[in-house]
Subunit: 412 residues, 2 copies
Amino acid sequence: MSMVGVIGYGVVGSGTVELFEKHREEISKKVGRKCDIKYICDLRDFPGDPFEDKLVKDFNIILNDEDIEVVAEMIGGATLAYEYTKKLLERGKSVVTSNKELVAAHGAELIAIARAHNCNYLFEASVGGGIPIIRPLNKCLAGNEIKQISGILNGTTNFILTKMIKEQMDFDSALKLAQELGYAEQDPTADIEGHDACRKICILGSLAFGKQIYPEYVHCSGISGITPDDVEYAENAGYAIKLIGTVKPAENGKVLAIVCPRLVEKSNLLASVDDVYNAISVVGDGVGDVLFYGRGAGRLPTASAVVGDIIDCLKHHHKVLALSWEDCFDKDYVADYKKDQVSMYVRIKAEDAQALKSAISEMFGKLMYIERAGRPDNELAFITPHMTEEDIDLNLAILSHSSEIASKIRLL
Amino acid sequence: MSMVGVIGYGVVGSGTVELFEKHREEISKKVGRKCDIKYICDLRDFPGDPFEDKLVKDFNIILNDEDIEVVAEMIGGATLAYEYTKKLLERGKSVVTSNKELVAAHGAELIAIARAHNCNYLFEASVGGGIPIIRPLNKCLAGNEIKQISGILNGTTNFILTKMIKEQMDFDSALKLAQELGYAEQDPTADIEGHDACRKICILGSLAFGKQIYPEYVHCSGISGITPDDVEYAENAGYAIKLIGTVKPAENGKVLAIVCPRLVEKSNLLASVDDVYNAISVVGDGVGDVLFYGRGAGRLPTASAVVGDIIDCLKHHHKVLALSWEDCFDKDYVADYKKDQVSMYVRIKAEDAQALKSAISEMFGKLMYIERAGRPDNELAFITPHMTEEDIDLNLAILSHSSEIASKIRLL
């Protein structure tokens, strides 16, 4: 009998148990041995729960049980989860998780511990919820040099932006609705400021380029500053505003990673990804561009990825599945995004905005002004040519003497 | 040194060699041993080819070389490729391929031979070109009960339909353009009649539901009958016409598989998949709907998937990777699609078409008439309610006494 433990019986933990138990027979067939969940570890009581008999409060019961081959760590955070994961891997028990915070903070180390103890640390669920992305990137696209990964990696912000785009809501109303529907937390900071998306793009970049990218070195800006006016300008120019995480190789073996709102051309499928859906676009030198789309969060979609990883671990017990990246303590591994070339949407306010046009054109050369119905006379919006962000900022610094820079959003 | 053989130095074969050699150092690093292509087997001469020194004409050189761990079979067809693949697997050499014809005809048998000889038969490239789909379906989504797979699986027909939709071309002109651009063969039958898409949906269905689905039992209709009028009606009703392969579970352990043109709602991402791109939508009970999108054919995209499989085989030499389905000789395993519920777009011609409206409404109950600019008086188009195709056909048989059934296209 191949046994599984689950630690943390919250939303995803209970979804994992439900999905696994629902398909237990089929999973046993796939694995080729009888499989079951033996323990669910949580400090809380769940009286009347259908799996009450499996509930334990002491983590050591799982750690010390020889029958347990795989543990699903569903605690979250990077403290207790880190400690538990290390202990389990050191005992040769595979660990699977949706814990992006932990993978982004300690992925390289935990993978190395797993390898050393002939077991696996898998985290398909940590990026894109149920969307298959870790394994495809690691295996199916292994023959490619990855040129760029860009993705809508956070469902909450995508829901808010969709409401702003499709229903002309302002940010605060859209956030309130997301909270009412349970898509946003009461403290929505990690989502709306882009920290959640940042962890995910770090995981994808670590996997694609072979070295750990730490979130603290990645520039991250959220969507709380986006206004309905920006949405309307973007719409008129053929773009949708999306919160996008990108990572790509930079010069001298570095990488460029950044999370920020971006104007995405409507012809790009990413612009059509609405509501709580996520999508990840990968460009490789062989495959060209591929896109993965689906529910990026939620109880059962995330559990789907967790259970897939559990099955893979059970099927390959004591076989190390190839998935790894090196640790990287070089603070300069993430290149300065200001040196990267980009086009920028800019909205300015100035008493006599029209009079600034000739100065702006002189600064930027060929640029595109965009319009919106009822644009006030004191407002101008334009898209800069492709140039380094540093140079754009220099120009905007000069412009800021005679106007207020109201918005500044990169193009994808 | 881990050695690879390539059999068949045509389009995909040469792409595979190019991509592998370009990334040889990186691949060796990923595999953890030095890797190279040792032989390229083809009966033709390639004077001046950069890999001329690797070319051999005798298959047995590859078969008998102990250094060869993996062979990429790029011959195509199900005769010589079948014989060679069997011989290689029986010697314990893993085989990877893009050969959908062979996998659809003999997948179960070849996977079983590989398993028995402690090697692997992988075919990520056989469906969707470079799009990762086989491995995600087999591994990442293993915790799901698959409810439906539907996909745009053929780039040639999707290119033709895109030209018909976006540029109002008729079928013949669009086909001619596709041939001029090299997207369609001189004999385009396998593409336009849906046989190519049929093999691919059979492979996906075999993998998802565990038993081999043979193409000969799957109803298959192509796009040669689609007219610009149909395209226009569909457009007006909010649909795009796409050639779609679908497979889903049916009653009594059977499956429903069918390839045909379908009206796809514009809100479905599949409707936005244009030109030679492919996309595959998978619905699972845990994950909900996920979609995989990319270049479904072409030299380097397909080679990307082949090289990914080569790397996986090299990494897991003498380890069997879990991927399999049973053979199935039950002709009734594929259920009768006429018993399935569907909505149908119907276009009829009749001298006094308007006069038939009351009879049609009586037959079908609540249905939707659709319009196009300049609709002639002798034409009517409508979408039936959701009902069995058998019942739709019974009604249309009656209607055919007083009108000509000009078009009949299923909705997705």
